[in-house]
Amino acid sequence: MLTRPIANLLISCFSLLLLASPAKALTSGPQQHPHIEVELVAENQTWVPGTTQWLGLAMRPESHWHTYWKNPGDSGIATTFDFSINTLNGPESEAISLPTGNVAWPTPERIVISDITNFGYYHDSLLMVPVELPTTLNASAISVELDASWLVCKESCIPGDGKFQLTIPVANTTRPSAFATLFEQTRKLLPQQAQSSQLRFNLNPDNNEQIRFQYVPETNNAMPMSSSVDLFAANEQLIAAADKPQWQQLIDVEGAKFWQTDIAVSDYFYQLPQSAEVVLAAANSEGVIQGLTITAKQQALLANRSDNSADSQQQAQQSLVILMLMAFVGGILLNLMPCVFPVLSLKALSLVKLSGKAASQARLHGLLYSLGILASLTVLAAILTVMKQAGAAVGWGFQLQDPIFLTVLSLLMVLMAASLLGAFEVAGSWMSVGSERLSRGDRTASLLSGCLAVVVASPCMTPLMAPALGVALTLPMVSMFIILMALGLGLALPIIILTLQPKLIAKMPKPGPWLDTFKQALAFPLLLTALWLLWLLQQHDPTWVLVVLAILLIMSFCWWLKVRGYPKFATAVIVATVATTVALTQRSASDDGGLAAVAQPYSAQLLQQHLNQGEVVFVNMTADWCLTCKVNERVTFSQQTVAAVFDEHSIHYVVGDWTHRDRAISDYLDQFQHAGVPLYVLYNQRGEALVLPQILTPSTVVEYIETHAINI
């Protein structure tokens, strides 16, 4: 029974013995230094004359510690290498020394700690160095000695250095070492050499505190280009480390596309170099960072075609034409609304009858009717303009960047879609009156009937009109007017055609269930629009999307209550929701009375500064979405009594806002093994930290301060 495992064991022991002696030669052995383990390794355990061999310095910092790229960024120092590589066992006179090639630096990461940006490696890295072995090499082995020095940092930095030694036998065949896979994996992290991509740079002509980079990617570019592709310059004195590129795709005068970004110059920038080594980096679809090394050339910048204002005007005009066409088609579609369509032919017929046999009279009435529509839409445009200006005056922005506008608009879209689907009707009672009026064809005022057409049919047209009006609101006044006119013309078109060609009336399709199907189908483009608006909204601030969804939930709940016959409950829910919202907003307005006024935003440096000076610090790690945090802030930190105690004992109130997953704060939370907020930490004069409970009252806070920080 035991034979097989024992045999296996014997085999493994035997192979271990076989490997033992060469394995010793391919690593210096890991060295433990403060906060980092460092080891010199070789890819192959035997080296062959006439080949390129790779050595590597494996750097394994502790979690949250990092080492640096060749340009370390705002602070820090790149790891340095001093190799001495000599042949062994050859005749004494022939011992030769071999030079190493350049260090192959893996694509760096951007490491931001408070206001300092560094480039380096948060994780284990292997810094590879090539050695060319001449074909004439006459030696039994090669001795590698390395003096390496590095800086390993978290918030503070520890310089380190070490001496490493390897002896590698020379042989006729190359044998990979146990580290060969590590070298292979590291090669994937190295930035690739750009083939035909071009990167040029020069001072930004509009701002000589910026360097403008222009990039023309090669056609089969392995690295996907996007606005957020990062850029690292090897030269420390070129660009500011903290300034991340924001690429824009532009078109040059010959119609070729290129990417452009402006980056602030470094504090130590003095003059433009002729060329600069740059690494572009982006995550690929699997989330792996891919880099591209490219030598950027100082060259005259490409002219951007759309810099030409005539062109951009033309573009604006083109988009206006498209919007106009859409509004026109939308206007025609309005005629197919169930409240308009059935009376359309009647209206046209009445106009024709009214004018007797004189076709010109009919045409005149048709024209007047259309003018009526346009006139009422002009009034609407005026109302919208006034609304827009009044709104702007009280700080409402009718723009697609404004979260409130986006919220209202997306809610409106969903409501209108629900209406189209038949959930409810907008002012249904008006509609029948409107239809009657419309069909009667008032003798005295065809013009007025046009106005009426808009006014009385508007309740049923609202679902479709709403998006058009929403879009119109975002536009300048003239464009808004033009678009509403296009909509009016579309609305009037069938009547104009029918009065011109009365024979067509007979050929009009009969109203029927298809009208409702059509109406309901229109709900889906509206829902699509709502989706688009929500997408815009979540780019702005994801919490707003939640607000929209919450409102929709409450509204549908109330609607359901009402439909099921509990309208009083529905009213109660609405009142309760409004009251809670008002109460919450008012409370937060009264926050200013408490500690909020003296809060200092958290940074590791600030905290260290206070602690170094032996001062008492209260750290409050919070986030907007953290309910407990908000409750504590309202109940405890906004109290005058608490603020008075802080003031009396000059306690620093340091607040970290984790709403947007700030790395510095995450690191701080890690120190206390806290996965999230709230976290309250009180430091006394000796710098001793005490973690407070997550739910606080004014008296507990005062008690903790007295026992931990004052009476000691």
Partner: protein, 205 residues
């Protein structure tokens, strides 16, 4: 929308420019070096403009910083101080460490350090509130500045080209202060007037 985005970008760019302007309002190479008035370890009030007509070398220092130690344990810094003292150049060592921070010393301790290390600055100056350090944009210790006899800043930056704490690197490094002083003496313009300094961060308050 794109126009709005553009506008926002312009605003941002303007804001960034303002920020960098405030950051640059400090000392700039080839412009007048800001004047200052500091108390020295000898108890004197020292003003930069007192030395008009002479070259002035400013050395930001912190005796506990490993990068400063590199240049003092090797006698590199003292050697430079003596070399330029002989050429009638005024060498001012400035300490911007705040009280309680690394490198902060009182006059007695500062004088003791000077004697012990055999240093030869014309004056050791105290800048405990960091005002002058920030005015010059001093980021590290050491951080070196050369002011020409006409009061114009001729050099700001690192002491030399090899960023390390290892004194063995000094002989192989290009000393930017020496290079600039040699070029100035030869009537040439300074080839590297602005370099990125290396060392410990200045321990401002």
């Amino acid at each position: 929308m794109s126009r709005l985005l553009k506008r926002t970008q312009l605003l941002l760019a303007a804001a960034v420019t303002c920020l960098s302007l405030t950051a640059h309002a400090a000392a700039k190479v080839n412009q007048a070096a800001p004047d200052f008035n500091l108390t020295s370890a000898a108890g004197e009030q020292v003003q930069l403009s007192d030395y008009q007509g002479k070259y002035v070398i400013l050395e930001w220092t912190n005796h506990d910083c490993p990068f400063v130690k590199k240049h003092y344990s090797s006698d590199n810094m003292q050697g430079l101080q003596k070399k330029y003292a002989d050429q009638d150049v005024v060498w001012l060592s400035v300490i911007s460490s705040a009280p309680g921070k690394q490198g902060y010393v009182d006059a007695t301790a500062a004088n003791k350090l000077t004697t012990e290390r055999g240093a030869a600055p014309a004056q050791v100056l105290f800048d405990p509130d960091g005002k002058v350090g920030k005015q010059y944009g001093a980021k590290t210790t050491p951080h070196m500045y050369i002011v020409k006899p006409d009061g114009v800043l001729a050099y700001a930056g690192a002491i030399d080209s090899i960023k390390s704490t290892d004194p063995a690197d000094i002989p192989a490094a290009t000393n930017y202060v020496v290079q600039a002083m040699d070029e100035l003496a030869a009537g040439k313009s300074v080839s590297s007037p602005l370099t990125k300094p290396y060392g410990c961060s200045v321990k401002y308050m």
